[in-house]
C-alpha cells in the first residue's frame, strides 16, 4: 500500500514536470522542469530496484547533460519576444496526435492484460545480492564488446563536440606544434662568412 502511494505521488510529479517541459515559454524553466522529471524518474527506478541506474541517471543527466543544456541556453541569449510566435496554429494537431498515441498504447496494455498476468513483482531485497554487482558482472563478461564500443562512442562525442565548437581567431600568437616539429635546423642557422677586419 505504501508502495502504491509513493508510486502515484511520483508519477503525478513526473507527468506535471514533463508537461512543464513543453508548456513553459522560457527555456530555462523547461530545463529545470526536465531536471525535476529526471530526478522523479530516478525515484521511480528505485521502486523498480534498479538502484545503480537510478543513481547513474541522476548523476549523468542532472549533473552533466542538463548543466550542459543550461549553459547552452544561457550562452545563446535568445530573445523573449520571438518565442511567443508560432505556438497556436499547429497546437490542436499536436495535442490530437499525442492523445491518439497515448490512447493507443494504454488501450494496448489494458486490453491485452492477460498477457501480463504471469509477471509479478518479485523483490530482490531478500536475495542479499546488490544490483550493482550483478550489473557489473554481466557488463564486464557478456557485454564487454558493447561496453568498449560505448566508451569509444563517448570518445567520439568528445572529439566531435570540441571540433564543432572550436573557434580560432586570427592574429593570435600561439604555438603551432606541427610547424615546430616540421622545422628543419639546417634552415634555421645560416653560416655567414664575415671578413675579418683589423690588420
Amino acid at each position: 500500500m505504501l508502495l502504491e502511494i509513493i508510486f502515484y505521488i511520483f508519477a503525478s510529479i513526473l507527468i506535471c514536470a514533463s508537461l512543464g517541459v513543453i508548456l513553459f515559454k522560457n527555456p530555462v524553466y523547461s530545463a529545470v522542469s526536465l531536471i525535476l522529471a529526471f530526478i522523479t524518474t530516478g525515484m521511480l527506478w528505485l521502486l523498480l530496484e534498479a538502484e545503480f541506474l537510478a543513481i547513474v541517471l541522476v548523476l549523468v543527466y542532472v549533473g552533466a547533460v542538463m548543466v550542459l543544456f543550461l549553459f547552452v541556453i544561457m550562452m545563446l541569449n535568445i530573445h523573449q519576444e520571438e518565442e511567443k510566435s508560432g505556438f497556436t496554429k499547429i497546437a490542436p494537431i499536436a495535442i490530437f496526435l499525442g492523445l491518439v498515441i497515448a490512447a493507443e498504447l494504454i488501450a494496448l496494455y489494458w486490453i491485452q492484460s492477460d498477457q501480463f498476468s504471469g509477471l509479478e513483482s518479485i523483490s530482490n531485497s531478500s536475495l542479499s545480492v546488490d544490483n550493482t554487482l550483478l550489473l557489473g558482472t554481466e557488463l564486464f563478461t557478456k557485454y564487454i564488446l558493447s561496453f568498449e564500443i560505448a566508451g569509444f562512442i563517448l570518445l567520439l562525442a568528445i572529439i566531435v563536440s570540441i571540433s564543432l565548437t572550436l573557434r580560432t581567431r586570427k592574429n593570435v600568437k600561439k604555438q603551432i606544434a606541427s610547424d615546430q616539429i616540421a622545422a628543419d635546423p639546417k634552415q634555421r642557422v645560416r653560416m655567414v662568412d664575415i671578413k675579418r677586419g683589423g690588420n
Binding site: 513543453i22 526536465l34 549523468v60 489494458w110
Partner: protein
C-alpha cells in the same frame, strides 16, 4: 499491488507528452532536444519495468547503453546548435531552411 501495466501506462503518457512537445514546438530547437530526452527516458522506463517484472538483467544493460548514447547525442547536438547559432543568429525551427536550395 503495483502491476506492470501501471508502469507501462506512465511510460506511455510520458512518451506521448514528448511526441506532442516535438510537434507543437516551432520556435526553439533546445526544447525539441529536451523532448527527445523525454522520449528516451520513457523508453528506458519500459526497459526497467520489464527487467524488474521478468527478473532479467538484460533490460538494465540496455538502459545503460541507451544512457551512454543519449549523453553523447546531447553533447553533439548542443555543439551543432552552438555552431548553428554562430552562423545564423537564430535557433528557430522555422529558420532552418538553408539546405533547401
Amino acid at each position: 499491488m503495483l502491476s506492470l501495466q501501471s508502469y507501462l501506462t506512465l511510460s506511455a503518457i510520458i512518451f506521448s507528452i514528448g511526441i506532442t512537445g516535438i510537434v507543437i514546438n516551432r520556435k526553439n530547437i533546445i526544447i525539441v532536444m529536451m523532448c527527445t530526452e523525454l522520449l528516451l527516458i520513457s523508453v528506458n522506463f519500459n526497459f526497467i519495468a520489464f527487467s524488474h517484472f521478468m527478473q532479467d538483467l538484460a533490460g538494465q544493460i540496455f538502459v545503460f547503453f541507451i544512457l551512454t548514447v543519449a549523453a553523447a547525442e546531447a553533447a553533439i547536438g548542443l555543439a551543432i546548435l552552438v555552431a548553428l547559432y554562430r552562423n545564423k543568429k537564430s535557433i528557430s525551427v522555422g529558420d532552418l531552411n538553408k539546405l533547401r536550395n
